[in-house]
């Protein structure tokens, strides 16, 4: 099992009001699966993804990553885990606008202190995998939204993580481009044996997922 959450709870305090983002969510995610987390906006999908991805800390409950209790990790260990074991794909791609596609993919490797030549070679290979071998030197503003999301996926794969977390990866895309991204994520799971967790509204992802969790008002309501 790569990820397990136990009674995971996240409460936000906004002034006097208390908002329950996630309420005692327990789930288990096996390795090499493609898991879809579905639900309407504000249901708690992103909160769950942030907690699994160690970007945020739970108010209560625990996240086990590879069997290790992440609540016992210090900030440096959490950061190292994010850098080497988890790849992130964001809805709005979050590419660095001043860098080329190639440089954007190299960035996580640079932080992981991968040698420069290896960075360049691996980044080019990854961009080839996502079908952007002819766009290496283009900056984000010179790419289509679909291409930007492909670059983001290549970046997520840069340090060869075991787990890919994608938050609404097709949210900004038209249906044709969205389908291409869904196929790409599905390929990652099938061909590269990655564990992929996708928070989405997109039914197409749910169709190819190994397992689907439905989230509503911060709780798991459906488990398929």
């Amino acid at each position: 099992m790569i990820v397990e959450t136990i009674d995971l709870t996240r409460v936000y305090r906004l002034g006097a009001s208390v908002i329950v983002g996630l309420n005692r969510v327990s789930l288990e995610i096996e390795e090499e699966t493609l898991v879809a987390i579905t639900g309407p906006s504000g249901s708690g999908k992103t909160t769950l993804l942030n907690l699994i991805g160690l970007i945020d800390r739970p108010t209560a409950g625990r996240v086990l990553f590879g069997g290790r209790d992440t609540s016992l990790m210090n900030e440096r260990e959490r950061r190292e885990t994010r850098l080497r074991n988890i790849g992130f794909v964001f809805q709005t791609f979050n590419l660095l606008p001043t860098l080329t596609a190639l440089e954007n993919v190299e960035i996580p490797m640079a932080f992981a202190k991968v040698p420069q030549e290896v960075q360049r070679e691996r980044a080019a290979q990854l961009l080839e995998v996502v079908g952007l071998e002819s766009r290496l030197q283009h900056r984000p503003k010179e790419l289509s939204v679909g291409e930007m999301q492909r670059v983001a996926i290549a970046r997520a794969l840069a340090n060869r993580p075991q787990l890919i977390l994608a938050d609404e990866p097709t949210g900004e895309l038209d249906s044709k481009t969205g389908s291409e991204i869904v196929n790409l994520l599905s390929d990652l799971h099938r061909k590269q044996k990655k564990t992929v967790i996708v928070a989405t509204h997109d039914e197409k992802i749910a169709e190819v997922a190994t397992k689907t969790y439905g989230v509503r008002d911060g709780s798991i309501v459906k488990d398929r």
Partner: protein, 387 residues
Amino acid sequence: MCLRNLFRRRTRTSLCVFGVALGVALITAVGATTTRYVSLIKEMNVFYRGDVVVVPRGSIFVQAFSFGGFLHESALDEVKRVEGIRNAVPMLFVLGSPTHEGVIQLVPSNVTVGIPAGDWSVLVGSTPLKPGGSWPSANTSEREVVIGASLSDVYGLNVGSEIEVNKYKLRIVGVLRYTSAFLARTIIMPLKTAQEIYGFETMVSMMVVEPQEGIEREDLANRIETQVLGVRALTDEERNEIVEPMFRDIELWSLGITSAVFLMSAVLVMMVAVMNVSERRRELATLDAIGAPKSSIVRIVATETGLIGLLGGLLGIPIGAFATLLLVCFYTKVPLSLILGETFILVPPAMMLKTMMVTVALSCIAGLIPAIAFGRKNIAELLRLEH
């Protein structure tokens, strides 16, 4: 990457760099000018070391010379009668404006010194003359003078050249080697010649008194002041006491101006860093999310602000150096083309390097503050806000 980030906001970055450059230019110009003047005055401290200087009461004595009053030559005899004196040499200092071929006016910062022939070493110590030169003849009708190295270089004057002072033609018989900025700008002539051409017959500016062996300078100075009316006798310590407060004031003002300008530049850089960090919250939060070490994020921001400092320094130091040259031109009336060669004397490379290093270091520190503040924010919330 950092340069590319900076120049995403070209106008903002350029204005900030320009602001820092102006600050650095001001610091360079103020620093160079004050350092120059302080070192020039300190340099004069070597004159009359171990001797007692007698000046008119009420005059102002700044290291090498006194101004604001004269002594009658008869005072020399009175001073010489004081017990414990080996020798007393009178000198006349005149801040003159001689002309050369009716074209160039030497400026008040150039000093004409009249000394009894043969007593030259009282002023110049062991400073030698350049080859081919000799000391002026004791015969005052010869109207011979020795000039400092800078006057020679700046006005192209050499042994055999003539200068005109108050309609008197003077012949240059020697040029001093460069040993001090003060001597480099002096015209040295026999006392009688100086008194005649400036119309100060029987008057002198001061006397340099050499004590006999074993005589305490302090005691001798006290005796002179008691026995000769209307004079002050200054020992080394007293002369230093006169100028020390001046050094302190000059250095304090310079430090104050420099600190204020550095602070303003740092605040300017920090404002830009705060704006940059604020605008790029999502990018920095993304780097944080994908596992970039906090130190890398801090380094990116600090490098960007350091680059602003570096660019500001690279632009500001030459502007400051040029402003210093213009200031020197303005005050000495020496043409810029002649001063250009003295750029690295007026603004020493060590000072440029120090200014550059402080500017870059302060700029980096200015970037650290917003970067560290960013590091304390919750990335999940930042990423969510951006949605």
